[in-house]
């Protein structure tokens, strides 16, 4: 027997759970104040998230997928992507979208059952929320292929969960990215659960990062609760992709502190102790501790931020509630660029029914 190939999976972390430094920091973190915008974004995300959950509880929106615990991943990715890049999110990526410029009231519209939640005027080339697990990854390969073909210095960044790494689409896409050396980065958000299925039952692979080896592409595992590690790892991968260095798979380790969605009850399948233990690792406290220790963030700033976030949340709720309800004809709008004339009958039927309903309500 001879050795045909060897591989190594690296893990990156800069901040320990208590905010102490675990390694020499990358240069972008030399001035801690430079990371305050990320911190602020994370706090905004959490405030928006708490409100969305509350709104589901009171019937103002439908099922909602919480972002609780993954704020560092979202802020880190949002921070390193450029405007001209393309984000391909899953359903749990409202945090990144906010940093892409998309108004968070879109998130409420989306979970409120309205297609206008996927209209992103501020980041028009980004992909919509993606519910069917993993199917956004071949899209990312296609987007990256287009970028490469046109010799653009742009990157397609797709996000997915640990569960998604079991799906054929995931591997097929990484493999394609390898073949063509596409400017594509996949961030697998390993929050240790796919609804109730724990990470260890999803795959016997010791890390999810190593799935990249199957595609012959670069990979890295990092601490997704450490904003600096996310910024560093994703930042390097994105720049590598942008400059023709090819694709990377990043496994960002975190924990889903919430239920899977508001329709789920996680107490059925995991213990309160486990969750409590994970709260000690969470990203906002970690970053704040570090900023505090560095003297880059004060108690007063924190209080001001809390107020600011609350006000912003209120504004978003307002924007959501003030969006006039969609008319039934929205079903046919944008179904095709030009609705084929064959739809006339169905359109007429809908119009008739709508009129009947209006009369009914009026009468």
């Amino acid at each position: 027997m001879t050795v045909a190939a060897t591989f190594e999976i690296r893990f990156t972390r800069y901040l320990q759970p208590d905010g102490r430094e675990a390694a020499d920091l990358p240069s972008f973190a030399a001035d801690p104040r430079a990371l305050v915008p990320d911190y602020r974004a994370m706090v905004f995300m959490r405030a928006l998230d708490a409100k969305a959950v509350a709104m589901q509880r009171t019937g103002q929106i439908g099922t909602y997928a919480s972002t609780l615990g993954k704020e560092a991943i979202d802020a880190g990715i949002g921070g390193v992507l450029r405007k001209e890049d393309v984000l391909l999110p899953s359903y749990r990526e409202s945090g990144v979208l906010m940093l892409r410029g998309v108004s968070p009231h879109r998130t409420l519209l989306y979970w409120g059952g309205d297609e206008r939640g996927n209209v992103f005027p501020e980041s028009p080339r980004d992909f919509p929320f993606n519910v069917p697990i993993g199917t956004q990854l071949p899209h990312a390969a296609g987007v990256a292929y287009a970028m490469k073909l046109r010799r653009e210095a742009r990157v397609a960044l797709a996000m997915c969960g640990d569960g998604a790494t079991s799906k054929g689409d995931f591997y097929e896409s990484l493999n394609a990215a390898g073949v063509w050396q596409l400017p594509m980065v996949v961030v697998a958000v390993n929050n240790h659960y796919a609804i109730s299925v724990p990470r260890r039952m999803q795959s016997a692979a010791q890390t999810l990062a190593q799935k990249a080896i199957a595609a012959g592409i670069a990979c890295e595992q990092l601490d997704g609760n450490d904003l600096i590690a996310v910024r560093d790892g994703v930042g390097r991968a994105v720049e590598k992709a942008r400059t023709g260095g090819g694709p990377t798979l990043i496994e960002a380790l975190t924990y889903r502190l919430s239920d899977h969605t508001t329709a789920d009850d996680a107490t059925r399948y995991r213990s309160a102790e486990e969750v409590a233990e994970q709260w000690k690792q969470e990203p906002i406290l970690r970053l704040r501790s570090w900023l505090h220790a560095k003297g880059a963030w004060s108690q007063a700033e924190e209080q001001a931020l809390a107020k600011e976030a609350a006000a912003h949340v209120q504004k978003m709720v307002q924007a959501y509630l003030e969006t006039p309800p969609p008319g039934p004809e929205q079903m046919f709008e944008h179904l095709y660029a030009r609705l084929p004339r064959q739809y006339a009958v169905q359109l007429a039927q809908l119009a008739e029914e709508t009129e009947r309903d209006v009369e009914h309500h009026a009468g």
Partner: protein
Amino acid sequence: MSNITLVEAINLALARAMEEDESVVVLGEDVGLNGGVFRATAGLQSRFGAERVADTPLAEGLIAGMAVGMAAEGLRPVAEIQFAGFAYATIDQLLNHAGRLRHRTQGRLSCPMVLRTPCGAGIHAPEHHSESPEAMFAHIPGIRVVYPSSPSRAYGLLLAAIQDPDPVVFLEPSRLYRRFKEEVDDDGTPLPLDKAFVVREGTDVTFVAWGAMLREALDAAEELAAEGRFAEVIDLATLKPIDFETVLASVKKTGRCVVITEAPRTCSLASEISANISEQALLSLLAPVERVTAFDCVTPMFRLEEKYMPDAARIAAAARKVMEYQ
């Protein structure tokens, strides 16, 4: 006898089948400890163990393909696909393998598997959670497609599906999972997989429906009865093969027919049934068969789903149309 919901009936049938036949195995995403996102498999893992009630990795093609392998090797897998909108990835396995294995080996291997999945709109679910792909399944040779509309029929049909020696796609109306209860006798009696059920007798028009639309059809029948017009309501129950005998007997009696589906119209089962009726009972028809379907649109997000799906009002309007036809 117990008074239970449709999803409880599914659970009861699964438990009974697993109890009676140790080759029955349940697999799918979250079917274990979590008992399924709709609780259809609740309690099964603690009762029958994690090997017989197995959480799978997140991969629908795998689930369908593994079920084919298990079935060929002598198990009776009952696979759950979490929502019908994620079942498209199973079509390759269903069509190229499950439905052909017996035929292409000339009876040497077979595929007694069941693929269960919740179907349909009306529960204010997120995107892709309200699909009605039954026509795609019904187009596939070599399989059966079943779609119950009540707790007792869910119980009996699921038992039959599990016992059937060939692959069965078993669609469950998520909207009816908890909508009403029915007395169900857990006596292990299967229902036939080739029979439609006349659930309400009538003389003036025949409604053919299945799944959640059956309730809408019944509501429409009620509405019409108040007008002195009587609809006969048929629960198709098995969508492949279709029990045209029952349908045609009714249409020959009433002379009019409305077929209802919450799937998009083009190439739907409603079209199939309509074509058959016109072909085989043209001279009995007093009016063209009317199809009441969802629009040929993408299933809209839930704010508009009520406008998209047929409801009792749309069905009653169609019934009036055929009754006033001349």
